[in-house]
């Protein structure tokens, strides 16, 4: 079985994003970029399934500009067998990303597609669900535990009410939550080895995907700031202050 993994590059989670004063966007020049943390978890899960003998091949997929190559090499260094780079200089909205993944699925026929539950830049939390709909296959979102056996996935999902277990026939789409696993670190020799692993480059335009974006972002604003309050000296003062506000 092949596993296709979404491997998106995003602004590193430690970066404090600043909105440009003119509201035209956020400052991304020179900021550190990293793999979406949920995608590192997706890749780790795929690698573990390969190590268990459940899968033979793990393919990382990136949709983005020409300079995405170094990022995809990290995915290869972590252990993916090969990468597919769909090149586009334009921002890709989730529905378009899902349509691209569907094209790749038609070609690669994977048994499993693992994506992050959300990318931490746009926080859309959509691509996996959209892909599953277009593909007409099961979705198991917010996965905290995955077991594959007998042509089906048993997935424990982190939902608001607790932990939900569902069963999905393969092929299926899984999206990862943070507690699914702890991704391995990339070792130096693996970076060398990754250099010889193949990256398929596919021009976005050649896929015949309609990139009609229904959503236009017209303005960016900084969030309303909370102002720093007061420090109280002890428990009694805190209780008095909260009582005065009618909170206790």
């Amino acid at each position: 079985m092949k596993i296709l993994v979404g491997y998106k590059r995003v602004v590193d989670y430690n970066v404090r994003i600043q909105v440009k004063p003119d509201g035209s966007g956020v400052v991304t020049d020179g900021v550190k970029l990293s793999a979406n943390p949920f995608d590192d978890i997706a890749l780790e899960e795929a690698l573990r399934l390969r190590e268990k003998g459940v899968a033979e091949e793990v393919i990382v997929v990136g949709i983005g500009p020409a300079n995405l190559t170094a990022h995809l090499r990290n995915g290869l260094a972590m252990g993916a067998n090969r990468a597919i780079h769909v090149t586009t200089e334009d921002a890709v909205q989730p529905l378009t990303a899902a349509r691209v993944f569907l094209k790749l699925i038609e070609k690669e026929q994977p048994g499993l597609v693992i994506l992050g539950k959300q990318a931490i830049d746009d926080d859309a939390n959509q691509t996996g669900q959209m892909l599953a709909a277009l593909w007409d296959r099961p979705q198991a979102t917010f996965a905290g535990k995955v077991e594959i056996a007998d042509g089906k996935a048993t997935v424990t999902r982190e939902v608001d009410a607790g932990l939900e277990v569902i069963e999905a026939d393969l092929p299926a789409v899984i999206t990862t939550d943070l507690r699914l696993n702890e991704p391995r670190f990339i070792k130096l020799p693996d970076i060398m080895k990754a250099k010889s692993k193949p990256i398929d480059v596919i021009e976005f335009g050649s896929l015949g995907v309609e990139a009609h974006d229904h959503l236009k972002t017209t303005h960016y604003a900084a969030p309303a700031k909370r102002s720093k309050g007061v420090m109280v000296k002890d428990a009694a003062e805190l209780v008095a202050a909260l009582k005065q506000k009618g909170l206790l």
Binding site: I120, D123, A132, G162, E167, H214, A224, G229, L247
Partner: protein, 314 residues
Amino acid sequence: MSKILVIAEHLGGKLNSSTARAVSAAAAIKGDAIDVLVLSDAPDAIAAEAAKIEGVSRVLTVAKPENAHPLAAVLAPQIAKAADGYSHVFAPSTTFGKDIAPRVAALLGVAQVSDVMSVEAAHTFNRPIYAGNAIITVEADANHTVVATIRTASWSAAASGANTAPVEALTIDVPLPTHTRFVELNQGSSDRPDLQSAAKVVSGGRGVGSKENFDIIYKFADKIGAAVGASRAAVDAGYCPNEMQVGQTGKIIAPELYMAIGISGAIQHLTGIKDAGTIVAINKDGEAPIFEVADFGLVGDLFKIIPELEAALG
């Protein structure tokens, strides 16, 4: 003009308050009609609750044994069919809505607006990106159905009681897949208030130190009638279950009082509490970033301070 379909969230035969919050967002569009759609194996009691929500025009029910559990693959084709004739489809931005709405959007061939914080106009919305570090204004194409999830912490629940909206049963004939099956739901049983709608929340972080120590948080929360939350670090360390996580990748909440105890205040955590009324921080490190956003800060050891708080409460 706008006609809005709101997808009801429910569990165990009870309507979730996230539904009334989504109705508030729908009301902000000032359209012609707000209909609530209840998909269930036994929708009647849930529909009766939804019919009381202020602003609701009609409640539509789809009763099928397959709808006993909220499986996106099963519900989405029914919602997509029911959406015919509506300008907007809204779902709460809870794990229920986040799972289902994008699947509906893709079936309709439209984009989705995630986490609507405020409505500027029928097709113009504000939503957070980058863990809430930027708020964008998005314009959806007016020629297509708008599918959106509603950030529940940004909207108060529409009032309930006075309304008596009519309830109508819908017959929806679409093939339903059997490739996805519900197995079980393991719910943390608790008599405490629900984290997402509680007026007061007490959260513990890594500073609490262990699962056993977390009892001090539960005890204090019970004393003041609060729900209990946690940081990701506390959940990852196994101090408490996942459904208690507050933050970018956990629950986004807006209680009147939020008390962060032994939590440093990482940006991903703060995203979850930005809309809280009053934030209290208790931390032994006076430099902890949580104090930057706290209305009241108290530096000290939580194991000493919590008993003192309890004593001061009497």
